[in-house]
């Protein structure tokens, strides 16, 4: 689980100059694990009769989503998904063949 696992190659031509120092992926999965645990602990404490993972996993999923949205904004990748034409594995094969 990483915040930014967009296809790396798409950056090669379009995005290279826009990220100053050359870092294109930042792994922040511990923050998501902390969010899940914090939410489950709170939920189960406040709802001690609850036993259904489908119930207590719902708010923990929302908490993860919140962190992910915040990081996308912070790292400047929010709203840029459609700047790149997706490449299929077939496209990528051709790319490597020509390299």
């Amino acid at each position: 689980m990483v915040v930014q696992f967009q296809r790396l190659m798409e950056y090669r031509y379009g995005y290279t100059r826009r990220i100053k120092a050359g870092v294109r992926k930042v792994n922040v999965d511990t923050d998501l694990r902390l969010a899940v645990t914090a939410t489950i602990r709170k939920y189960l404490k406040e709802n001690p009769a609850q036993f259904d993972p489908r119930k207590y996993l719902e708010p923990s999923r929302d908490a993860m989503k919140q962190i992910i949205m915040e990081r996308y904004i912070k790292f400047g990748s929010a709203g840029h998904a459609f700047d790149y034409e997706p490449m299929t594995l077939e496209d990528m094969k051709k790319f490597y063949e020509n390299e």
Binding site: V23, A35, K74, P86, L89, M92
Partner: protein
Amino acid sequence: MNACIERYPKLPIALHLDHGTSVDICQTAIHLGFSSVMMDGSLQEDGKTPRDFDSNIEITGEVVNIAHPLGITVEGELGCLGGIEDGIGSGREKLTDPDKVKEFVEKTKVDALAVAIGTSHGAYKFKIKPDPDKNLLAMDIIRRIHELCPDLHMVMHGSSSVPQELIAQINKYGGAIPETYGVPLWLYKKD
């Protein structure tokens, strides 16, 4: 994932294996449909003991030779991260040497490279609160690598911020996480 790609064909998305510790693991991931793999050749197969430079080049290059003909991208790692909480990391830091990066990238043909600049995996990164006036991470290594290899995609592992409000919430509701700090978000403003 396939349903997602079908439903949102314009979405650029990849399924990436984090910290593959052997050629076999990377190969299994590729067969399962991963479109990108990491071969962490900075460590040996136990995920703890550092691997030497030449052996890293050899094993990472082997994965690239398997992956690229199938259109799969590969991330490598040079230098060792600290931290052992999630089973990956040497427990001591061995920062990336910028002068070796070019040779590594040219010989292996990796698409992306994880660099060690002082971060570590897990929640226990720093015992004292990071000081904005002190260099927490070796950002000079990032800048130097970027000068030497301007087209290289770098990856920062172990970069969670470890939000204090989440630690507080865990401890309020029965957890016992000792004082710990992550990579603060203000760090990203500087560079």
